[in-house]
Point group: C2
Chain length 97, copies 2
């Protein structure tokens, strides 16, 4: 299994509407990309100081399935249209489990 993990911080001038549009867009992806086996995402829960703002954890049966997701046009459209305009920093890991 490949577990893809990505965390973002949003820029200071990102609006609440822009931040809310990210999960609204992401929720369409499991219906469009059957290679996604599990898809969890959301804003930080606010328990600790100094955290990143938003996280995605996505599970796939194989590296090839992860690559289908990574390069899928609908996913790339969300990155270009909703994430890149407001992202300040990004941290990612893929785990092979």
């Amino acid at each position: 299994m490949i577990r893809h993990i990505v965390l973002f911080t949003w820029s200071d001038d990102a609006t609440d509407e822009q931040k809310a549009a990210v999960p609204e867009a992401l929720k369409t992806l499991p219906g469009l990309i059957p290679e996604i086996k599990s898809y969890t995402y959301g804003r930080d829960a606010g328990i600790n100081q100094g955290n990143y703002d938003f996280a995605i954890v996505a599970d796939f049966d194989s590296t090839d399935d992860y690559l289908v997701y990574r390069d899928h046009p609908e996913h790339q459209a969300i990155i270009a249209g909703h994430i890149k305009p407001i992202v300040a920093s990004r941290a990612a890991v893929q785990l092979s489990l």
Copy 2:
């Protein structure tokens, strides 16, 4: 459910032995902290450039259970003894799912 996600980069002078000691230590924690419902961790799989080096994803039934883990002496001992000596950067999010 609380999903705790943390990513690390290791310092350039971290040795392979120091890096390998981190998962070796972490694997003891599910046996010591029953509040951990799922615990996945490991080094980056090397699929993409620019990634962080290591990730942990830990699931808990509640915020209180996550806090037991966060503050547990055995967990804190691993942070102090194995992670802090070699960490260069850290990114974390807790998701409420």
